[in-house]
């Protein structure tokens, strides 16, 4: 089309301006000369010939201008001119430009880095095509919202759900387990294993890095010949990145079952590593292979629920529809098989929403705080711009009165501000990159472990972070664009021209600036209060009694040897130098990647509870609670007299005692354990201790003697030795491991870690929040002090004349200082009122991420008040002193 030709010709002209100008001049020159020549021929006298020619031509300059407009890209030239002018303005006051750019960079950089962090931990979608179509399906009970399914339930749902039926759609099952890979010496290492239905990779659209991935068509083959796929990190770290790994066989073992060989089919790409944020998987195993290694019962049992489901929606279906269908089928299942499915439901939620929920309150609090800091930055920059706008009033007025249109002037100012915004954005991204590189070091590392690998998380800026930073800058820039509009909308030019910078302050901008200072002080105060509460909360996780000892305790997780060996292990471990005490249980508190185990129990004292309760528990040896530091507050703990054959006794935690026997004596009450048809008697009450995570809401918990649990209820096949040591527990880990291997290589622990490590890791979230928020709180305070100082300094300059008169009329220095301070006092008072309001709002959100601190923590409030008082005093003292040192004669003459 012709417009492309026109555009290209205009663009070409844009770059050859000089030459074309010369050509045009020559052409016009030729025109005039031709006209003069003709006029002369017609007998017009020479002096008139020229005038006539020019008259016939019209305006030469005008023609040239019209021609140029037609020729090049006038708007681009205009903008370039504006940008050049803006640069000159910046260089004229580099201090101002630098402050504005750095402030913007601080806001954009810190918030982008935090977004990067949240994105890395929680938000980023799975690296698969169309992640928006992925849905998660969970089973629900009265106690649990994100429960698991049995394989039977998965098969039923997969067949009956129309929302997942279609060419690329479907439903896949995924269950997290562990596999052991034996070494030649008989010891073994644990591989975190995801057991998946064969359609899993196809459904998600994952492509292998090496080899191939199994599909639904391979099910029959896999049933005969086991096969697995390796995760990238596993391949790199445990197989040395062997390029010939595909086709090799690796030995695998589950529990005490026999060793079998599995083919390595392929290796997954690095980007695909996790289904749940922050987890990594070594081995991806089809259910068929799991059945070969462990037996069919894990898949056929209707009560063994260990699968979660991922679905890809059919075209046209949405998560809401899927949810309705899933719920309907769950109801049908409950009707068909009430014995297994009573009170069980199911729900589906989009993967994105699931991740948002995972980020939860921590994410929300971080984001709110980041928002506060960004607002502070923007307000500060707006402050700077307004102050400068006032100083440029005469210039603007002069330009307007010389005939520039308001649009021309506004555009010029707009370009200046947008240029600042752009540079701030670039500097901010650079800052964010720097912080992102440091993030892994700032984050709490995973607990140190022997015989198990940890992979850690890395953070990088991807297009999502750029987008976020861009969005942020856009919002900021729009705000900044608003300032020039205020500047040119002021109608009274003449007074502005006459009075100069200081004299003309309209009340509108003055109120705007005041409000900005109030807001800054308010936000800063709320930030400081939050910082205080979160820092105290973190310190509490380090110092407060949490129901677990902070002494050195080694935690070794391995397979349960038979009865006499258990005693031997205890004896041998106790014989190691530095060991004070040894005990064992099924699990250790705070064990990562595990949700805690539960038994079904009925309470005869509460006949109104028709359904059996699912209560989490641990089966422990005598002395276990003493080693992990959970105190018995009533009754007794277990002793050697609680043997396999004696009456079953249980210790309950305080929450359970208070919930079910608030008025009665819990000691002697009966707890009926449904699975073994055993009546157990409560012999003691232990203090509450965290089960999975520090800061979780306390829930009823049971301790059962290990021997009794094994004899009367079930044998889990797993055991955790807890070893109290007098020196650093991790330094004892190799010796403890050797002790176990020496007894039997099969007892090589799946991992060894220590209780302090587990506690450190578990309170990691508090540490992270405290660190981030402290940093942001300090930045916020600095911004507020700078903003307040800027405002007051400007006010003093503005009132120089007035102060001069006052002093000339006999006002003392003290009175002048007081004049400024009174101004400040009001600003701060109103700002603090806003701050208290903000703190109240923040306290609501924060309460669930705090540990042992009231959200409106009095100490934090007082300290925040103190810090703000001191820093604002400093910020206002300097301008006040300057006001006092004004020489009245000079101030008056400066007009």
């Amino acid at each position: 089309m012709s417009w492309t030709r026109i555009l290209s010709s205009r663009c070409a002209a844009f770059f050859r301006k000089k030459k074309l100008d010369a050509e045009l001049d020559e052409e016009l020159q030729a025109h005039i000369e031709l006209a003069i020549a003709e006029n002369l021929r017609r007998g017009i006298p020479p002096d008139e010939a020229r005038t006539t020619a020019l008259r016939a031509f019209g305006g030469v300059t005008q023609t040239r201008e019209t021609y140029r407009m037609q020729r090049g890209l006038p708007w681009l030239e205009q903008i370039l001119r504006d940008v050049r002018f803006a640069f000159r303005q910046m260089l004229k006051s580099p201090g101002f430009a630098l402050t504005a750019i750095l402030t913007l960079a601080l806001g954009i950089g810190s918030s982008s880095a935090i977004f990067c962090l949240m994105d890395g931990i929680w938000l980023h979608p799975m690296r698969v095509p169309h992640p928006g179509r992925i849905v998660r399906v969970f089973s629900t009970t009265t106690q649990e919202q994100e429960g698991y399914f049995s394989y039977f339930e998965y098969q039923t749902l997969a067949q009956r759900l129309p929302a997942f039926r279609g060419a690329s759609a479907g439903l896949a099952a995924i269950g997290g387990r562990g596999s052991l890979m034996p070494r030649p010496d008989g010891t073994s290492q644990m591989l975190l294993t995801n057991v998946v239905s064969t359609n899993f990779f196809d459904l998600l659209g994952v492509r292998p890095l090496l080899g191939r991935l199994f599909t639904a068509q391979d099910a029959v083959r896999l049933r005969v010949r086991p096969g697995v796929v390796l995760g990238y990190n596993c391949w790199q770290q445990r197989f040395g990145g062997d390029p010939n790994i595909v086709g090799r066989q690796i030995p695998l073992r589950h529990g005490k079952d026999g060793i079998y060989q599995a083919d390595v089919w392929g290796v997954l790409p690095r980007e695909f590593r996790e289904i749940d944020p922050g987890s990594d998987t070594d081995l991806w195993m089809p259910v068929e292979t799991w059945a070969v290694g462990v037996g069919q019962s894990d898949l056929t049992s209707r009560r063994f629920r260990w699968f979660q489901m991922l679905g890809r929606l059919a075209p046209g279906a949405d998560a809401e529809q899927a949810n309705e269908q899933v719920a309907a089928i769950a109801q049908a299942l409950e009707r068909d098989d009430p014995a297994n499915n009573r009170n069980r439901g199911a729900h589906a939620v989009s993967d994105f929403r699931y991740r948002m929920e995972q980020a939860g309150t921590s994410g929300l609090v971080l984001f709110a705080i980041v928002g506060g800091v960004v607002l502070l930055c923007t307000v500060n920059v707006a402050h700077l711009l307004l102050a400068r706008a006032l100083s440029r009033v005469p210039e603007v007025a002069l330009r307007l009165s010389l005939g520039a249109t308001r649009w021309t002037v506004a555009r010029q100012l707009l370009v200046e501000n947008l240029l600042l915004g752009l540079m701030g954005w670039a500097a901010g991204l650079a800052l964010a990159m720097g912080i992102a590189a440091l993030l892994p070091r700032l984050l709490v590392s995973e607990p140190a472990m022997l015989n198990a690998y940890t992979y850690g998380t890395s953070f990088h800026l991807d297009e999502r972070v750029y987008f976020f930073a861009g969005l942020l800058s856009l919002v900021t820039m729009l705000l900044l664009a608003f300032v020039p509009l205020v500047q040119v909308s002021r109608p009274q030019l003449v007074p502005a021209l006459q009075a100069g910078a200081a004299g003309c302050v309209t009340s509108r901008t003055s109120v705007l600036r005041r409000a900005a200072v109030w807001l800054q002080i308010g936000i800063s105060f709320a930030l400081l209060v939050s910082t205080g509460a979160l820092v105290r909360s973190f310190l509490n996780t380090r110092t407060q009694s949490i129901g677990l000892t902070r002494n050195q305790v080694l935690v070794a997780f391995t397979q349960d040897p038979d009865n006499p060996l258990r005693e031997t292990i205890q004896t041998n471990l106790r014989a190691l130098p530095g060991v004070k005490n040894v005990a064992y249980g099924i699990r250790s508190p705070l064990m990562p990647s595990e949700n805690g185990i539960a038994v079904k129990a009925q309470l005869p004292s509460h006949p109104e509870l028709h359904e059996p309760l699912e209560i989490k528990f641990n089966a422990v040896s005598p002395g276990f609670l003493a080693v992990i530091g959970t105190r018995i507050v009533r009754g007794r703990g277990f002793t050697t007299e609680d043997t396999a054959n004696s009456p079953v006794s249980v210790v309950i935690n305080r929450t359970m005692a208070q919930k079910y026997w608030p008025a009665q004596n819990p000691i002697g009450q009966t707890v009926h354990l449904v699975d073994g048809h055993v009546d157990a008697h409560v012999v003691g009450v232990a203090e509450d201790a965290p089960i999975n995570r520090i800061g979780e809401l306390p829930e009823p918990y049971l301790y059962i003697p290990f021997l009794q649990y094994q004899a009367r209820l079930s044998n889990m096949g797993e055991i955790t030795f807890v070893v109290e040591t007098s020196q650093n527990a991790m330094s004892m880990a190799p010796d403890a491991r050797q002790t176990l291997i020496h007894i039997n290589p099969l007892l090589d622990p799946m991992f060894i870690t220590s209780l302090p490590e587990l506690i450190r890791f578990s309170s990691g979230n508090y540490q992270m929040m405290a660190e981030m928020v402290s940093a942001l709180g300090i930045i916020g305070l600095a911004l507020t002090v700078v903003g307040l100082y800027g405002f007051l300094a400007f006010r003093v300059t503005q009132r120089q004349h007035e102060i001069g008169i006052r002093m000339a009329l006999g006002a003392s220095r003290e009175a002048t200082v007081w004049l400024v301070l009174r101004d400040t006092a009001w600003l701060i008072a109103i700002g603090l009122a806003i701050g208290v309001g903000l703190s109240l709002a923040a306290a609501r959100i924060e309460s669930s991420v705090l540990f042992g601190v009231h959200p409106l923590d009095v100490l934090s409030l007082v300290v925040a008040l103190g810090i703000l008082a001191v820093s604002t005093a400093i910020a206002s003292w300097l301008p006040a002193r300057r006001a006092a040192s004004i020489d009245p004669m000079r101030a008056l003459r400066s007009e």
Binding site: E23, E27, A30, E33, E38, G59, T66
Partner: protein
């Protein structure tokens, strides 16, 4: 500014330039301007300068080509000539113009008959 006049003339000026080049062959700007003035019998008061933006416009559209040459007085001048698309364009533009003129004529005709 004279902007109004140029605006009114714009559509017609383009056609006049094309038509002039068709009948006269390659011509410099002054020649085109003079020719238009002569043909219109001085009924049209043309600012000769307005011819240049028009020529540029036509050149950008690819209807007109330009080349430096020597005038009859041996002066270096830029000569314009019709391109092949320009030749085709004349037919289209003429048709457009006639349609517009006919429409205008129809608007004007009934009012004169009504007054009779």
């Amino acid at each position: 500014m004279g902007e109004n006049k140029a605006d009114v003339l714009q559509g017609t000026l383009d056609l006049m330039v094309l038509k002039t080049l068709e009948s006269m062959g390659p011509l410099h700007g002054y020649g085109i301007a003079r020719r238009i003035e002569q043909v219109s019998g001085d009924a049209l008061s043309l600012n000769q300068g307005t011819i240049y933006p028009a020529l540029l416009r036509l050149e950008q559209r690819g209807w007109v080509k330009s080349e430096w040459g020597l005038s009859e007085t041996n002066r270096r001048a830029k000569f314009y000539s019709l391109s092949r698309t320009g030749r085709k364009q004349i037919a289209r533009e003429t048709e457009n113009w006639e349609r517009t003129a006919a429409t205008m004529a129809r608007f004007l005709a009934p009012s004169s008959s009504a007054s009779n």
